[in-house]
Symmetry: C2
């Protein structure tokens, strides 16, 4: 056991957003400090002495990007010696889900710029942040198949086709649309509203849907299996 | 962001073992240092400056209990301020699976004693170690339903009834034995050997089974779903 430990603790966050235009995206900052100055990276930073890990993530996100997160979950701790060229830094990583339109993103403190990048067009990143995004995407792919966390990414009211597109974007594959709709409707936490979809072109507009969270919690308590 | 961070990083391990006599058990040490001197706790300790997190877990386990772990997986990082009465210590926790009979357990360094405790008879523990065990048990319950990690806990050759008992001990509930056997046999990674079970009492001894790991990896590559 070491007598004097010289290790720092940071938090980093993979924030996923989704719009039908941009698809599944990740929020990145361009670093304005060394190391990796001018390189894109995940928002994050050192944990304050008296601050919980979750508070540290929220603070760093707010400071560097202007974003607050509703859905935030711990992902994994990355601690390989040498992952930071300065000294030993262990990063406790989180992933979060937001509706991109709900926030004005704004770079500050250690971030010169902040931008959403489609998950398939991530630029070269600082540190081991590509590995962290890959781990977060794997976790999201897995989780969305048995917990309806996708609604955190959608507007309050959405056409059913948007939910399908979201699943295809997250899973990075096509889905059996008929089977998907049958399963999701059967769960019972989706509500069809009277509001019609605004269509750009011709065609018959469908009704918009919304997610009934209260009903979901109730079904969850009853031990319903939400596997897609 | 703090200018001087004063946080230490530890690793702690929830090591699960299983014997048909003792059931599902957790390896605990009795601390011989303050704080919580003479209290049972998870084996663990501070991470060395140049050591990976996994190496730190294995070293602490070896030092304090004499045990080496084959199956080791990161669980969660516990970082609530105040979880350690001294200074801020963040614990990156792991869970591991071993065959208890494969090791002579032996307490040393920070451990005055080391002992296996049945999961239902865990004594009062130091720090937040009860929460850590609860999280590890949840993870194990979940994981054993879609990945055959239970074989890490069994002898190389075992009667089928042992596999059933193991699942019931881990899941803490009875299982539909006929359905369970049908599913497990269908997966194709279980081999029936010619060797007969040694029976203490009367009755017809069944054949012993063994886990074919190579076959499992092959099936896994083919994308087989191992959900029980």
């Amino acid at each position: 056991m070491p007598t004097t430990q010289d290790i720092k603790v940071a938090v980093d966050a993979v924030v996923f957003g989704y719009t039908s235009k941009e698809g599944l995206s990740v929020l990145l900052i361009k670093r304005n400090i060394d190391p990796f100055k001018d390189t894109w990276a995940l928002p994050g930073g050192l944990v304050g002495n008296d601050e919980s890990l979750e508070d540290a993530v929220q603070r760093e996100l707010k400071e560097e990007t202007g974003v607050s997160i509703n859905y935030l979950e711990q992902l994994y701790s990355f601690g390989q010696p040498g992952r930071d060229p300065r000294n030993r830094v262990i990063s406790i990583t989180y992933y979060g889900l937001v509706k991109p339109d709900a926030f004005q993103i704004e770079a500050a403190t250690d971030a010169a710029e902040v931008e959403w990048f489609n998950i398939k067009r991530i630029p070269q990143l600082a540190f081991d942040h590509e590995d962290i995004i890959a781990a977060a995407h794997d976790r999201l792919k897995n989780k969305i198949l048995y917990q309806p966390i996708g609604f955190e990414l959608l507007e309050e009211r959405f056409p059913f086709s948007e939910l399908e597109k979201l699943y295809m974007a997250v899973l990075d594959r096509s889905i059996d649309r008929r089977n998907f709709k049958k399963k999701v409707v059967k769960f019972g936490f989706l509500e069809e509203t009277d509001e019609k979809q605004a269509l750009a072109g011709a065609g018959r507009p469908g009704n918009l849907f919304c997610f009934n969270q209260q009903k979901y919690f109730q079904l969850q308590k009853e031990g319903i299996n939400f596997e897609i």
